[in-house]
Symmetry: C2
Subunit: 433 residues, 2 copies
């Protein structure tokens, strides 16, 4: 286990933290509120891209289009996202509108159509006001700046209370010792409001030089540990998408700098083969930082769930396999009873046990145990001797930690969610007027 | 399709509606409230029994014991259920207590240990006050009466607002024309309250003469259409159990009556083989009535969900197969967003489409459609032209009907749930004091 702390450090800038990325966030006028609703991320230097998208069979038009575009072998230059309208359940007109967004972005930036990834978030089933969106794109392009990561993060918000951004710098160590690469990211959260808001969108940028295959492997792996391990209300959206762009700009900086060493992955310029392998310690260091960025963004999404007052972190250890660990941890953060108990600071371990028991995960009747905020509350499916009032008081925090040992193996997983509050129901039951 | 209305009619009595069944419901003193908490169902005439139990790996001691007892070939005579304490997560002592309940019931009724089925519902993780329960059993036995189905139904309630009972009489028709058999049932609902209440328990009685295998087949089939198609909060309990008892008493009534004909299933007395076959129209008539009893009880459970103000009935048609129809319909009734929209009378079809899309069910992009209270709101993943205010007004009823055609096949399923209200969160978040 490599100590993460020593290997990456926080930097400013969000998606524009890595070298060579610019962003913009503007008010196109899609949202009635007049808040920013159009975000652009751009790298002049060609990048490779990877995506993870919703499995929802009602996937929105921009999702369908972006999947095609990422499959295309050509270089990638931009991501364009509007908020305020999801362009989902909008039929063939929806696809025309998604293409119009790509076209406007590509023309304005003088890059190929197939280099622009698109997504939308907001109301489902209402035609996109495409002219407004296209005008917004035209407004955003001249404002692209290497300092505007925050503006882009704000422009993809729907009912999010805070914007979600992160950037880190990684010293890869090993044969690349002293070489720095950067990873940045922004995300929007689980805001579902009248009539219906699409859920998670995240953009990850890095100036590492990676092959498409390597980036896709890194992203899929990170998504399984982060965005696929969070839950607000169990409702998979039509527009979920995580997109990663790697433009290799760190290599140029290196070469322009002391010019001595071979940059991370530089050989890929000559031979673009996947470089991810278990035997490659530098890649592992990068992957850890990449996971960290995705996990931190995912946690920001979870804690900003509608009506939420706290982040619930469920760690499952001792599972027979990884899938069991993930299923068990997700079952706990998805339980409305656990979520309600979290809201009320109720150390209700029976609901946790019941949530675990309802999954296919193997559990040792004798060895299993549950701790809440570090205090053992259940051992071998029976109550421990603990002070309920004291544990309840300990639960009155922004972070609620639940640890479960299934007692049958060595696999583990962490899932994150939020409490269920009256405010969630209030937000989601008001008839739109 | 046989017209159900013509073939069975409602009768009084709940579990004591069928011939030969007695019941009792008493206050043992398990509940602090002093409300009834001990129910007994008894048939002097030996019965066959079938059960469907929770798949939760933290299944409670009485569930484990009852599974064993039902496996035993011997006759069955009684079901004993206490409320107020689930005897779940109580270790080996919990099993001792469950056995003590069976032992006390068997001794008091002078029937074999292996003829008594047991269950408990209420708080998880707290040792059962077994002496109080055993005293309650001793109190209940002399009160057993063929009129006390209602008292038993009340005694299994936890946070249920109303008791759940039904009984029907069936004219089997065909070669058994004019012969009547009866089916009765009681259930308790999804009340989960400090710290944790186990969920569904149902007892179905019938005076039809059936083999164990036939009864199990009927019960498993009915459960898949009823109790397995309802949802309140997606939390599977440690104590869920549906038990069915068939004592064949209708045959004696027949024989004691005009004495002319062969009673339904009478041949089973000589050769106890399964009689369920597609070619047996009388069995199909009985099965329809049996399904009806289970479905009506399940709907009573759904609409009495904590904090619920209405029953949501989701009918999925046009599915590629039965499993897809069930998964899709359950996904809609489980969606917290759909449940919240139901509360607010919001005809939010996007949430319905999203819930369907998140399942593995095949959906035709062109042919799929959604109706709310009979009004088409979505066709081919696009909005229909409908009056939102009018549909919202139509949703302000105790029964909310959502119909979804997946447009790919001929299979269908119905699922029932309830709306999600602030009251649900309030009930389940209050720390027990």
């Amino acid at each position: 286990m490599i100590d993460k702390q020593a290997l990456h450090s926080s930097i400013a800038g969000g998606v524009t933290g890595p070298q060579g990325f610019k962003a913009a966030g503007v008010t196109a006028g899609i949202k009635a509120s007049g808040k920013p609703d159009l975000a652009l991320v751009f790298t002049e230097k060609p990048a490779v891209a990877a995506v993870v998208t919703t499995q929802n069979s009602a996937a929105a038009a921009p999702i369908l289009l972006s999947r095609e575009i990422v499959q295309d072998d050509g270089p990638k230059h931009a991501v364009v996202i509007n908020s305020g309208n999801a362009n989902a359940c909008t039929g063939s007109k929806g696809m025309d509108h998604a293409k119009a967004m790509v076209e406007a972005t590509a023309q304005g930036l003088s890059v190929p159509f197939s280099s622009v990834i698109v997504n939308s978030t907001g109301i489902i089933g209402v035609p996109l006001p495409v002219e407004t969106v296209v005008d917004g794109i035209k407004t955003a392009i001249p404002l692209l700046s290497s300092d505007a990561g925050h503006e882009a993060a704000v422009a993809i918000m729907t009912t999010d209370i805070v914007s979600k951004e992160i950037a880190v710098e990684v010293d890869l160590g090993g044969r690349f010792s002293g070489r720095k690469v950067r990873i940045g990211g922004m995300a929007k959260g689980s805001g579902m409001i009248a009539p219906n808001m699409a859920t998670t969108i995240a953009v990850i940028t890095t100036d590492a030089l990676l092959s498409h295959e390597t980036l896709q492997t890194l992203l899929s792996s990170a998504a399984d540990k982060s965005f696929n391990q969070i839950n607000v209300d169990g409702c998979e959206s039509t527009n979920d998408m995580i997109v990663a762009l790697a433009n290799g700009a760190s290599t140029e900086e290196e070469l322009a700098g002391n010019g001595t060493g071979r940059a991370f992955g530089q050989t890929l310029r000559r031979a673009p083969k996947p470089i991810l392998s278990a035997a490659d310690p530098e890649l592992q260091v990068f992957a850890q930082a990449f996971d960290h960025v995705c996990i931190e963004l995912a946690k920001m999404v979870a804690v900003d769930g509608e009506g939420a007052t706290k982040l619930i972190e469920v760690t499952v250890t001792g599972a027979s396999d990884l899938e069991s660990a993930r299923v068990a941890s997700m079952s706990v953060v998805r339980s409305d009873l656990v979520k309600s108990a979290a809201k009320g600071n109720d150390p209700n371990w029976g609901r946790i046990v019941s949530a675990i028991g309802s999954t296919s995960a193997a559990v040792s009747q004798e060895k299993m145990s549950v701790s809440i905020q570090g205090t053992p509350v259940c051992q071998g499916f029976m109550v421990c001797d603990f002070d309920e009032v004291a544990v309840s008081n300990m639960m009155n925090e922004r972070l609620l930690s639940i640890e479960i040992d299934l007692g049958v193996g060595d696999s583990s997983a962490v899932a994150w969610g939020c409490d269920l509050t009256e405010e969630y129901v209030h937000i989601n039951s008001d008839y739109r007027t």
